[in-house]
């Protein structure tokens, strides 16, 4: 009961409400603009959060996360281009339905199912994060090592694209985390005599480079692309008939999204694809999918927004991000001196439940903004890339520079921009790099500390039941793509 009261705290703070309002609005704009999204937006706004107290800062980031994930649907329905990768599945039925003159109905369903999915996932977060945190008290260094390995193998298993390429990208992310002074012995690694590298490679330059700058290069290859925009008169709330058709789909996808979100991977993107395919599998009219099925929109949108709360579960309970955007939120927590994990639940419940409450309100706010303002947000896509991207470049450069006041960080950002472009071109996802980078120190640190505990005996890992369970799950995760590929062949 006390915790529920703590969740209501943001309602009674005008400052938090203002932050929520701004965050949701900003998140929606980011979501609507193709190529941007909550990950890039969160990374860019991270320096500004330094002027806020920790709760306001994290509330800002989480509201951007929730609203940004929904915002992608507006562009997906109206111009057949997902505003965020998580909205890719929404295009499949959203755009065909809009072409039939029912853009308002498509967006109405996207808005309602996103809100239901988002709220459902916050409930999951409120109930499961404390349980997971309680379990984490049993975790020592070997268990954390095994858990981090499990997280990385999950990238291969349920991430987008080739599993091996995902693993390479994840290993590369961990490798980046080894640059700089070794935290146990202070020996320089991969610094090549550059003083600025002794502190390591920062998270923000890598995120902004891999997401924003690589996208700028991608947009440079598409400058002659013409979008067919569909005019939107007004959003329509789903009819009784639509609700009858979709309520089971929305609930199922909300469950799927929350579960997928908990697993460290590409969060909403994978969740929406699975949510969509499951909606098709259970549908009475699967032949309508791809031609403007309202169930298809509900399945994809409920799942991708449900992944937001799900992804926050391991982030807050274990300090292991469930998606690229939660990796940014995790960085925000660390910057503000908040250490995620079981102690956070015991020592700062007001902080945690404030975040939960804020996520709940953000889901309601984006419903209101989306419902009344989708027409205006849709107009944002009219800003031409030749104006928009130079502006994003200016913000990216200043944002990256601002954290450490280091010009080297800006150059690193550009380097990762070019690298990210070529990675994406050849089918390597950039998300595992981010997850690998954030988990890198945990993986190496826990491995080395475990070996100290075990006196260098590697086999001792397998004498710990929890660690052993995670290793077995990792093996299953690695084998899963092979099994899936064989099944598809058959």
């Amino acid at each position: 009961m006390d915790n529920l009261l703590l969740m209501m705290a943001p309602f009674f703070s005008s400052k938090l409400l203002l932050v929520l309002f701004f965050g949701t609005l900003f998140g929606l704009i980011l979501g609507v603009l193709p190529g941007l999204g909550p990950t890039t937006g969160g990374a860019l706004i991270l320096p500004f959060t330094m002027t806020l107290d920790p709760l306001s800062a994290i509330v800002l980031l989480t509201s951007i996360y929730c609203a940004g994930t929904y915002g992608g649907a507006i562009t997906a329905v109206l111009i057949n281009t997902p505003g965020t990768p998580a909205a890719a599945a929404t295009c499949l039925d959203g755009y065909p339905l809009a072409q039939k003159g029912e853009a308002g109905r498509a967006l109405g369903m996207a808005t309602v199912s996103s809100t239901v999915g988002g709220i459902f996932s916050v409930i999951i977060l409120v109930f499961f994060a404390p349980i997971l945190a309680q379990l984490a008290y049993e975790f020592g260094q070997p268990e954390y090592f095994a858990l981090a390995i499990f997280g990385l193998t999950m990238l291969a298993s349920i991430g987008e694209g080739s599993p091996i390429k995902n693993l390479i990208a994840g290993a590369f992310g961990i490798l980046i985390s080894t640059v700089g002074k070794d935290f146990m012995t202070s020996i320089d690694r991969f610094t090549f005599g550059i003083n600025e590298l002794t502190e390591g490679i920062g998270f923000i330059p890598v995120v902004v480079g891999l997401f924003a700058m690589s996208e700028m290069l991608t947009q440079s290859t598409l400058i002659n692309q013409v979008f067919n925009r569909i005019a939107l008169k007004a959003i329509k709330l789903p009819s009784k008939d639509d609700y009858k058709k979709t309520w089971k789909t929305i609930l199922r996808s909300s469950g799927i999204g929350s579960f997928i979100g908990v697993l460290p991977a590409e969060g909403g993107t994978v969740a929406s694809l699975i949510g969509y395919s499951e909606a098709k599998r259970f549908s009475k009219k699967p032949e309508e999918f791809g031609k403007g099925s309202i169930e298809g929109i509900a399945g994809a949108e409920a799942a991708n927004n449900a992944a937001t709360g799900g992804a926050m579960v391991p982030t807050l309970a274990l300090g292991i991000p469930g998606s690229a955007t939660t990796a940014v939120i995790l960085t925000g927590l660390i910057i503000h001196g908040v250490r995620p994990g079981p102690d956070l639940f015991r020592e700062q419940p007001d902080f945690l439940y404030g975040i939960f409450g804020a996520m709940l309100i953000a889901n309601v706010l984006f419903f209101i903004f989306g419902f009344f303002g989708a027409k205006i947000f849709a107009r944002i896509t009219l800003v031409p890339n030749k104006i928009l991207w130079p502006m994003i470049f200016a913000v990216s450069v200043c944002g990256t520079y601002s954290l450490n006041q280091s010009i080297i960080d800006v150059w690193i950002m550009l380097f990762f921009g070019v690298l990210g472009f070529f990675m994406r071109r050849y089918g390597f996802s950039v998300v595992p790099v981010i997850i690998g980078l954030i988990l890198g120190e945990l993986v190496e640190g826990t491995l080395r500390q475990s070996l100290v505990i075990f006196d260098g005996n590697w086999f001792m890992f397998f004498t710990r039941p929890i660690a052993l369970t995670f290793f077995i799950l990792s093996l299953i995760a690695l084998a899963f793509p092979l099994i899936r590929a064989k099944k598809i062949k058959k």
Partner: protein, 168 residues
């Protein structure tokens, strides 16, 4: 579907060293081997101070893993070639060039000037010819961002010909 198959066939008909899968695998392995060699130059911790493993061991293991997995994707690609990518347009290379110009100007002349130059350059080559919009993206917006960061975050930008005038 037919197009993908056509592209795959086209890729298969190229000599192996022109194929994307070879070029990508070669670059990854080449860089990984170079970095692996570098790890042998890392200082070695005396046994009394060493906790667990040597600082070079973990990166070495990662690099070996990357090399092995890259060989695996190359092997798989020989059976199932990657689709041929479209040629990159001129606008991509110009944007890439603008990044390089940005680095040069920010290092030698001025940080703000570098942002401004890149913005105008990119905007112009992406098709914006109207003076007002070029000024908007090249001067007005960077000034707003610059002042915003300077006043809200108390940021001090690196010295340069324009920044020095602003600070003086």
């Amino acid at each position: 579907m037919k197009n993908v198959q056509k592209q795959k066939r086209a890729n298969k008909s190229l000599p192996f060293f022109f194929r994307d899968e070879f070029k990508v695998s070669f670059v990854i392995i080449f860089i990984s081997v170079a970095l692996l060699i570098t790890t042998f130059t890392f200082d070695i911790v005396p046994p009394i101070l060493n906790r667990g493993i040597q600082p070079a061991t973990f990166p070495k293991a990662l690099l070996v893993l990357i090399i092995v997995m890259t060989l695996l994707i190359y092997y798989l690609a020989t059976k199932n070639p990657w689709k041929v990518q479209k040629k990159l347009p001129k606008s991509f290379f110009l944007t890439l060039l603008s990044f390089f110009i940005f680095v040069v100007i920010s290092k030698t002349l001025d940080f703000f000037l570098a942002i401004s130059a890149l913005s105008i350059f990119v905007s112009y080559y992406w098709g914006e010819k109207r003076i007002f919009y070029l000024l908007l993206v090249g001067i007005i917006f960077p000034v707003i961002v610059f002042v915003f960061f300077e006043t809200i975050l108390g940021l001090r930008f690196p010295p340069g010909i324009i920044t020095n005038i602003y600070y003086s």
